[in-house]
């Protein structure tokens, strides 16, 4: 591999493939490197792919991509030990073009997506680890791979190497993350008859449902669980800050089993067969944990740059948008023959001024806030469940009496003030 490319993209996930696709489409000579056996073989997500950002790369991709189900209903369960307050939205507009989002299985989807980039002219090489960036005079000029004679050169290197971006770290772009800046998620794919899934989740053919789980799903630790419908499998998982697992000495797979056996969840998955078990980190430090993302001859995109909106379980869409914007900037840089940090900084500006940066800034303090004040998850959700139980249990006491009891159960005036203050604070960090 002695050839020189216009660009080398490290990592074939949603960010890297989007970038390589657009670069190749724009006429650049691009090398896409993937360390796994095939794109997707190292990649994990709960499973929601957003239509809009994917269409920004490939219009009408849903006509041919390997998707599971378009989501027509999104539910949220606020769970206590033996109860849940559930709310959600179901709308038929999400079940037809142009759709809102889809469940996908990443090993299938990423392979398909990478093939599309190859069709555009990108060169994909699998089973190749990039050991380090080759830096000359402070400028990244290529990568050193683990293949024999594995140095490859390019005008610009795009780091799309995911949450464990050892490459960005070794360039000094960000420090090692702390356990409260990443969430550890474990999940399972459960095989279940298609018809059974549709009956249990109140769906018709080619309709899907997502359920996000809060509260007891994570035993009150900051994090969420999820249960998503695929064609003939379910994806079930749970993620918490790594610091939470450490503090409470919880084994992540025990927590996953706890969710699977929770009385609010068990009936959905009863009789299913586990097909695969997966673990992965999610960067959740948000805007405050974002390091440097542009340097001379180098750009960082996707998870490698901490682009996750944990509040809205968005990540792959931010990754795709970052990849697309990086490609746009690189094509301009190619035109100008200038790959300096100053030139490539256009990517950072576009990213931060667009919806990605806006959302990252909007929720910049949310992870820290909800981590610092665990009462939202371990007190207020149980309180909400208790109130709902009291209000809806018909036992001969009047509704006024019930309201009075619920109100007094919340606690003293001082405690009520504290709750009011907490809710005001929560509103402030997510407003």
């Amino acid at each position: 591999m002695s050839e020189k490319f216009d660009a080398i993209v490290v990592g074939a996930g949603p960010a890297g493939i989007s970038c390589a696709y657009d670069l190749a489409k724009g006429g650049a000579n691009v090398l896409l490197l993937e360390r796994g056996e095939y794109p997707g073989s190292k990649n994990v997500m709960g499973g929601v792919l957003y239509r809009k950002m994917m269409e920004d790369v490939i219009p009408e991709f849903y006509k041919e991509a390997p998707l599971e189900r378009p989501i027509v209903e999104q539910r949220f369960m606020m769970m206590d030990k033996e109860s849940a307050v559930t709310f959600g939205y179901k709308g038929m507009e999400w079940g037809k073009e142009p759709y809102n989002n889809f469940t996908v299985l990443r090993a299938k989807f990423d392979q398909w997506f990478a093939e599309k980039a190859v069709e555009q002219g990108a060169v994909l090489i699998n089973e190749t680890v990039v050991l380090e960036c080759i830096v000359e005079n402070g400028k990244v000029v290529g990568v050193r791979t683990d293949r024999p004679n594995g140095d490859v050169y390019a005008d610009v290197v795009v780091l799309a190497d995911g949450v464990n971006s050892l490459l960005a770290q070794s360039l000094g772009f960000h420090k090692e993350y702390k356990p409260d800046e990443v969430a550890l998620a474990t999940m399972e794919i459960l095989k279940l008859d298609k018809k059974v899934i549709e009956d249990r989740f109140n769906l018709e053919d080619n309709q899907g449902c997502t359920i996000e789980l809060f509260g007891d799903a994570t035993k009150g630790i900051l994090g969420t669980g999820f249960l998503y419908t695929n064609k003939d499998t379910l994806s079930i998982g749970v993620g918490t800050l790594l610091s939470g697992l450490i503090k409470h000495k919880i084994r992540p797979y025990d927590l996953l089993e706890y969710v699977k056996n929770h009385p609010m969840i068990r009936p959905y998955i009863q009789g299913s067969e586990p097909q695969e078990y997966l673990a992965h980190l999610i960067p959740e430090g948000g805007y405050n944990s974002m390091g440097k993302i542009v340097g001379d001859g180098v750009i960082v995109i996707g998870d490698a740059s901490q682009l996750v909106n944990a509040i809205h379980r968005e990540g792959s869409n931010l990754a795709m948008t970052s990849g697309r914007l990086a490609a746009e900037t690189i094509l301009q840089a190619k035109e100008a023959g200038d790959f300096s940090e100053r030139m490539l900084d256009e990517y950072r500006l576009k990213l931060l001024n667009g919806f990605v940066g806006q959302d990252m800034k909007k929720y910049k303090d949310s992870t820290h806030h909800f981590d610092k004040f665990p009462q939202y998850f371990d007190q207020y959700i149980p309180m909400m469940n208790k109130a709902a139980s009291q209000m809806f249990t018909v036992d001969g006491s009047s509704k006024w009496e019930k309201q009075k009891k619920i109100w007094s159960d919340i606690g003293s005036t001082k405690e009520k003030m504290k709750i009011a203050r907490d809710f005001y604070r929560a509103w402030k960090v997510i407003k």
């Binding site: 994990v44 997500m45 089973e127 680890v129 090692e176 399972e188 499998t233 056996n261 586990p274």
Partner: protein, 98 residues
């Protein structure tokens, strides 16, 4: 369809996963002494999602063959005592679905 089993062990979960293990480990305990003398909790044996870290009397056994390459041990080790690399290209965990 079989009845849902009450609890599935980590061994059973790991059995579902395909691994193409390299012959040498991509994970190394930097200083074995630190685990022995400075780390009473050995928290990596708890939070590792594949239970690849196992304390054996006086030393940490690292079953790298079952690693999910998530990175938790590198970040979560209270003594930054784990040297973490990616397995050789094409090796390590191979997800087939998720």
């Amino acid at each position: 369809m079989s009845e849902q089993k009450k609890h599935q062990s980590i061994e059973e979960k790991q059995y579902l996963v395909r691994f193409n293990a390299d012959t040498k480990s991509h994970l190394h305990v930097k200083d074995e002494d630190i685990c022995l003398t400075k780390c009473p909790d050995k928290i990596c044996t708890i939070f590792c999602p594949a239970e690849i870290y196992k304390w054996e009397d006086i030393r940490m056994h690292v079953g790298y063959e079952g690693c999910h390459e998530c990175g938790s041990c590198r970040i979560g080790c209270p003594h930054q005592n784990i040297k973490w690399e990616y397995p050789k290209g094409g090796h390590g965990i191979v997800f087939r679905l998720g």
